[in-house]
Symmetry: C2
Subunit: 315 residues, 2 copies
């Protein structure tokens, strides 16, 4: 974290690719990851360790982790739904693993067919397994509070439910929890309420990351209030990949290019070269010619004469 | 202002329609304005008083003002480029007139062929004319600081230039100044810097309004920091009308529907019924079948069970 103020975690190869039908060939995934690494992106979630028959788009995640380990300095993240997945991710050499726990139990049952108790049991087993490994093989273990901002089945989720799950995750042995706006329901004040509540429940230092979507257009507005409340790590997806094809502009995750532009304009260092980052779109677009890539900055371009006279630090 | 916390000024019939080729028929404009008024929008900029040969899309603005005066309680705003336009707007019965003054003199010369001195002279003449009228015929007179965040010709604009023009506008007799992100260059910290500088130059109460574009995706992020800095009036355009057809999602003005959703979710009253507002899109789309309407919320819909359990006031 020394070289930058805000850490961007690119989740397109996981969250973006799992949301579309097309299976991106391994070589294209490698080219994408390499190009983003070279643009300065410090962390990339390269895939998830789920059964290939459930998500064939993710079948080559172990091979991708193996390749990504040749990119020196890159933090390789992977999503794991359970103990088996965590073992596979750690064996492959991932530096960071995230397990999503749906705060909505209805969603948890529907999504992974597990109750909260069963999920916490998995987390406990994973934590014990990590502890059994030599220090240098231990990944960073994140518990992701998914559907924290509301559930498409249950509707609103009480803040107390979120803090309760956050506490249980910490007790079960994760290194940190993260707030995840799975459903694109987060809005600024609600977000501030949840950040404060979770930080108060598990400790300031144990909530530093956010996973936001831009489904309802308020993704970057949410980033602004999150920055004001001590969040320093943001997931984002190149080209907002994974957006709904029926909604022009309705991207899935917040768009990495737009996020980096905004942070950069605010004088916050991300270590990322914006022009090189935008150039990565060509690689992804060529590999997925039928997918529409989102993002405002890549279309509009930088302001004339940027950054001189535009970048201002917090006032 | 009693009934709401934040005032939305719909500028689609002016800023949106002047940016597209198609001339919307007067009857369709009337239907649009009526429907938005009935959805609770308190102020609508119905057009601009410019020569019809320059902007044929705006040729019927006087007739539109005349019609809008039948909608009791609606504040009718109009853009005027000069003294002649202001006279026509006032004669037609507009409640509020705005004159844009480009802080970039290069842009001013190119756009209206006038120097800053010449523009200030127009403003002085308009203010004197307003003073000569009986009280009940005097419109609210706003001076809009356009290209305040940067110019597509000059590049960055110094803060001191913005405050200088703001002071000159106030001295010349406007009731208030407004900051206008004509070029879509505004970003959060820069915006805060300008709001603070202008408020400090002309007085807290003489800058309450913002005109933002969403060209680079940070429009609603800008709204959030503006709210934190005492801005209470926002221009917005239904469907982000006037966006660039080559940039999916790259709307012109911030989208009224998305703005109202965000404010509503923050517990800020706008007096606008979100469902009725979204329904206005049908009227506009039917009248402009070849134009793409933007906006995230209208595509994604409200969160399940909204607003109960989602709306949170400032924390």
């Amino acid at each position: 974290m020394a070289a930058f103020d805000i850490e961007i975690s690119e989740v397109g190869p996981r969250d973006g690719l799992q949301s579309i039908q097309t299976i991106m060939p391994l070589e294209a995934k490698k080219a994408w990851i390499k190009a983003e690494f070279e643009a300065g992106v410090p962390e990339i979630e390269v895939g998830s360790f789920v059964p290939a028959k459930l998500l064939p788009q993710m079948a080559d995640t172990a091979a991708l982790v193996d390749y990504a380990r040749t990119l020196e300095g890159l933090t390789i993240a992977a999503l794991v739904p359970n103990f088996r997945g965590a073992q596979n991710a750690i064996d492959a050499g991932a530096h960071k693993i995230s397990i999503p726990l749906s705060v909505s139990e209805t969603h948890s049952l529907k999504n992974v067919n597990r109750t909260h108790d069963q999920m916490i049991e998995e987390v406990t087993k994973i934590a014990a397994y990590i502890q059994s490994l030599p220090k240098e093989k231990q990944p960073f273990f994140e518990g992701s509070l998914s559907t924290a901002f509301g559930c498409t089945i249950e509707g609103p989720i009480a803040t107390q439910k979120v803090t309760e799950i956050a506490e249980r995750l910490m007790k079960a042995g994760v290194n940190e929890v993260g707030l995840s706006d799975t459903t694109g329901y987060a809005t600024p004040n609600h977000l501030v309420t949840l950040i404060k509540a979770v930080k108060s429940a598990v400790g300031e230092e144990n909530l530093t990351g956010l996973h936001l979507h831009n489904t309802r257009g308020v993704g970057l507005a949410n980033v602004v209030v999150a920055l004001e409340n001590g969040i320093t790590t943001f997931d984002a997806s190149l080209g907002g990949l994974g957006g709904c094809p029926f909604a022009p502009g309705a991207s899935g995750n917040i768009v990495t290019e737009d996020l980096v532009y905004m942070l950069d304009s605010m004088g916050l260092k991300t270590g990322i070269d914006l022009e090189k980052l935008c150039a990565v779109r060509d690689i992804v677009q060529k590999a997925l010619p039928q997918e529409e890539l989102y993002g405002f900055l890549p279309h509009a371009g930088l302001p004339k004469g940027y950054p001189k006279g535009y970048q201002t630090t917090s006032s």
